[in-house]
Symmetry: C2
Subunit: 134 residues, 2 copies
């Protein structure tokens, strides 16, 4: 059973290879641009500078057959179940970062520096909701 | 440009229609079960009771052509860009909830009550990371 994703834009970063990508989105790495395809630009309406959003994107270079892995940060070399890690290699390589919006210019948003290769496909943007605080 | 998702399990809830579903995953609604397909069960290794995880799932009854909507919680009836809402109706209807794990029994996890129809397809599970705290 399956479903089809339609890419709605792309993410602009300085990283050209998987090896160059940092482990997570991090404010100290500067900023990235989210470029939404023109046909989806109106879906950005009502987002504003200072908002935090959850960005979903697609690790198109991931290995989707991996179920166990040794994380990059591991000190023990222990293999872990992939659902207990945030490795890009997983059955559905949907990436997820929470970022702050620094600027919005038409279909381009400047946000906290992301962790993916330049040109990575965009899937979705959602307003951040802290479900643990509720 | 597109990509294919492979469903890796399903979510068991008491909700049989879209109308019956609550707006978000909420602890006060009890618990739900995440049933991971047997072939992916080893990907759950190293998750444990008390962990918080981000669950990604697929709103297979969503309208994917909507770019603007009036949210259910709106008091003004103002239409908003879909990326500024968490509406299930969106170009890629990937749902995202942060839940707590209450029990793990083989390929079945009991978690905070989720907000989707019984049988909703599971896409991914990731350990929760508070990127706003860093």
């Amino acid at each position: 059973m399956s479903a089809e994703l339609n890419f709605v834009g792309r993410i602009q970063t300085p990283y050209l290879t998987k090896q160059a990508c940092p482990g997570q989105a991090r404010a100290e790495n500067g900023t990235s641009q989210i470029i939404v395809d023109e046909e989806y630009a109106s879906a950005l309406d009502n987002l504003k500078v200072g908002d935090h959003v959850q960005v979903l994107y697609w690790f198109d270079q991931a290995d989707r057959h991996v179920l166990k892995t040794v994380p990059r940060w591991s000190k023990t070399n222990e293999e872990r179940g992939i659902f207990s890690t945030r490795s890009p290699n997983r059955p559905n390589p949907i990436a997820l970062s929470t970022v702050e919006i620094f600027a919005i210019d038409g279909n381009i948003m400047t946000v906290t520096a992301m962790d993916c290769i330049d040109g990575t496909p965009l899937l979705d943007i959602k307003p951040y909701l802290n479900q643990l605080k509720a």
